[in-house]
């Protein structure tokens, strides 16, 4: 009897011990190490998401940096978008985060607010930011602290398939003046004229930045600087009403639209020549053009709201560089970041793969060698320069999943399960609940 009892005690103790280990594993770690270069060889871990071509270019960046800095080795880790954020979440939670990470606006505050990113202000000795405008830098700040450095600047645009429009003998619309009503009318005309072979538009309002622009045109915004949701249903409903009115007439059927939401680039109707307009960042024209060499794409400005003097346009960083707050080598990490952000060598290797460089010197260095579609994208940034307004508040923690929430409710409308009013009210409720849950 006694042996059995003591064994049980032992067993319980073992479990307690094991869970204590696990418990210890997930606390917040120690303070950031001193920002000074080490005398010994240092290995940095660097992670990014992207396509195969980006992986190749980034490996070239690493090689070039290592050649200039023989004492610093950089180990690259990469994956696709979805896998990337799973890995980020688990490696940061496990105290095993890479030293330098590629960051997105959707997640910047999620990580920054929880002290997971290094204050880049502490690394100014190694990291120069002179090439960046104040507006650009501001887009990487949360609560006045520079947590991330923008890599590229983009602006949301309408990508138009000119080949398709030419075939249908429809002129390019005047995008300086066009309104959302014009947009809907022209889209319907395209569908009609082609006899259903081509549709005018893809889904409207299936993504946060478009909704943000539209809300700004109505004098509203998605979030405020305190990370509260400020969107009003009436600032979103008209967009989803367009989807409802245009499904099958000017847009693909509801099912095809739902499918297009998750289609890979080379299967999108725009690339296949079955759709005339789509909302994309201007910088995406390069990959769209590469996927459809026999189509000609051009960039148009976003439609405006009739009677509003707000364009709502803004430059959005394509992505950011950031350093983990728990890196053991902040100085070396900053040095590598400095290379990525400022070096002309890096700019030339990278081209526009991560967007039109936010660093103005880098852009000037590569501008003469831009391929035609990248030049179109760069020109578009120049074209809207006087129309862009201050960037909107960063996406707060808890709202990283905002695009999934938007698409879910947009689909409810498409499939007639909710009216546009109901869906936008529901979306705002859900978003507010998610943000509040993360803030508590």
């Amino acid at each position: 009897m006694s042996t059995r009892f003591s064994r049980r005690v032992l067993f319980g103790g073992a479990i307690a011990a094991a869970s204590a280990v696990v418990l210890a594993g997930c606390g917040v770690g120690e303070e950031t190490a001193d920002v000074a270069l080490s005398n010994e060889e240092v290995t940095l871990r660097f992670s990014w998401w992207g396509s195969d071509s980006r992986h190749e270019l980034t490996n070239q960046l690493i090689d070039a940096f290592e050649k200039e800095n023989p004492k610093i080795k950089v180990k690259g880790e990469f994956s696709d978008w979805v896998g990337y954020w799973d890995r980020m979440a688990t490696t940061f939670a496990a105290n095993d985060a890479p030293d330098i990470v590629q960051m997105d606006e959707l997640y910047l505050r999620t990580y920054a607010d929880r002290n997971s990113l290094l204050d880049l202000g502490k690394t100014t000795e190694f990291l120069n930011t002179d090439g960046f405008s104040d507006v650009s830098l501001a887009a990487g700040q949360a609560g006045g602290t520079q947590y991330a450095l923008p890599i590229g600047n983009g602006s949301l645009s309408v990508v138009a398939n000119k080949t398709v429009l030419d075939e249908l003998k429809i002129d390019l619309p005047d995008d300086k003046t066009w309104t959302w009503d014009d947009y809907a009318k022209i889209s319907a005309e395209i569908s009609e004229k082609s006899g259903g072979k081509v549709v005018g538009s893809g889904i409207v309002g299936s993504e946060a930045s478009l909704i943000s622009i539209y809300a700004r045109q109505q004098g509203g915004s998605l979030f405020d600087d305190n990370g509260k949701v400020t969107l009003k249903p009436e600032q979103l409903t008209p967009l989803w009403q367009m989807n409802k009115d245009m499904a099958g007439k000017g847009m693909p059927s509801a099912e095809a639209t739902a499918e297009q939401m998750s289609a890979p680039l080379n299967q999108t109707w725009l690339v296949l020549g079955k759709q005339a307009f789509n909302f994309n960042y201007n910088t995406q024209i390069t990959s769209l053009q590469a996927a459809a060499p026999d189509q000609e794409f051009v960039l148009l400005q976003m439609p405006q709201s009739a009677g509003s003097d707000q364009t709502g346009f803004y430059y959005k960083p394509s992505m950011y560089w950031a350093i983990s707050a728990r890196t053991e080598h902040p100085a070396e990490a900053a040095k590598f970041l400095d290379f990525l952000a400022n070096s002309e060598t890096a700019a030339k290797i990278q081209g526009t793969d991560r967007g039109i460089p936010a660093n103005e010197d880098s852009l000037a260095a590569i501008r003469p060698d831009l391929d035609p579609s990248s030049e179109l994208a760069a020109k578009f940034n120049d074209q809207v320069k006087d129309l862009v307004q201050d960037p909107p508040a960063l996406t707060p923690a808890g709202a990283s999943d905002i695009n999934a929430m938007i698409q879910r409710q947009a689909q409810e409308v498409l499939f007639d399960r909710a009216t546009p009013e109901e869906a936008s009210t529901k979306f705002i409720e859900e978003l507010t609940a998610a943000v509040d849950a993360a803030a508590s």
């Binding site: 094991a18 917040v28 002290n115 998750s262």
Partner: protein, 311 residues
């Protein structure tokens, strides 16, 4: 399993010698048990206890966990998507499992008739079970049932203009149920083994008495096979509750269109890894455990009324 366990307990010594365990045997047993105990503690029990603790916290992966008492349970009570995901999962489990078992049993009976090339058929039918929960097949499935997919191209031959099966909320779940049914091979193989255990004499005797094939199936095969059916049913239901890969791939981790394929496990993953609500996700995991345990208990209780043990 259970009987083995009993045998082990009865084995040497039994109740009479409790106090005098041979110390050398005891040590040997401890050594042999060690890998299992270590595995249990480190890989299963430790994380489970951890997740039980986390389910009462607001752990967000990046900051320290704060104890929040029953807040996560409170949150479950007015979580519409939780209700939605439970509904989707229940439909999936209780539609796909019976159909899958019926198909498996039917084919097992046919194959048991002594078909030539049985081994080959068995392997072919078993193949989907190996592939069914793989990423590759889920991707294939997405293509086959897409708007321009193989299935619609097939329907087009007959002039039918099929919808986007996976992109329409009214049919998306059915395609996943079909995918699950398609993996009938594993229960089928178990049924086949069970059918082999039924003595042929029963059938011969029944045939002599003039019983039809259908009567033989109902009066001999089903009762004698009922423990196997029960076994497959329990495992099938537990497995179906935990399905994840198919819905994750087919809907790109979203559970769409319009939450129609939002499996419970998928929702749990979204909360934990996409929304950083790991505390809430842990609570959801425990809810799933409780639900599965409850259904398994019901299953065992009901089994008293229909499962026939021949001893």
């Amino acid at each position: 399993m259970v009987s083995e366990f009993r045998a082990l307990r009865k084995a040497p010594g039994g109740s009479g010698q409790k106090g005098r365990v041979n110390s050398r045997d005891g040590r040997a047993a401890a050594v042999f048990l060690a890998p299992w105990v270590v595995g249990l503690v480190v890989i299963t029990a430790g994380p489970m206890l951890m997740s039980l603790y986390l389910s009462f916290t607001d752990y967000n992966l990046l900051s320290n966990a704060n104890f929040t008492g029953l807040e996560n349970i409170q949150r479950m009570l007015d979580d519409d998507r939780l209700v939605k995901s439970l509904t989707v999962t229940m439909v999936y489990v209780f539609v796909s499992t019976p159909i899958q078992l019926a198909v498996a049993l039917g084919l097992a009976v046919v194959l048991d008739r002594g078909l030539r090339g049985l081994a080959l058929y068995r392997s072919i039918f078993y193949l989907p079970s190996l592939l069914g929960s793989s990423v590759a097949v889920a991707i294939l499935w997405k293509r086959v049932f897409g708007v321009d997919g193989l299935f619609n191209q097939f329907l087009a031959l007959f002039g039918i203009d099929g919808p986007g099966w996976i992109s329409s909320p009214s049919t998306a779940l059915s395609t996943l149920i079909l995918l699950h049914v398609w993996t009938f091979g594993a229960p089928m193989v178990i049924f086949l083994a069970g059918l082999r255990q039924i003595p042929r004499e029963f059938y011969e005797a029944a045939a002599v008495d003039g019983a039809s094939k259908r009567q033989q199936f109902r009066r001999i095969t089903l009762p004698l096979l009922s423990p196997i059916i029960f076994f497959n049913l329990v495992l099938g239901i537990i497995g179906a509750f935990q399905s994840f890969t198919q819905a994750f791939i087919v809907s790109d981790g979203r559970g769409g269109p319009s939450d129609s394929t939002l499996f419970f496990t998928l929702y749990l993953y979204q909360q934990g890894f996409q929304n950083f609500n790991m505390g809430y996700a842990s609570a959801l995991a425990w809810l799933l455990l409780i639900i599965i345990a409850a259904f398994t208990a019901i299953n065992f209780w009901v089994s008293k009324y229909w499962v026939f043990y021949d001893n």
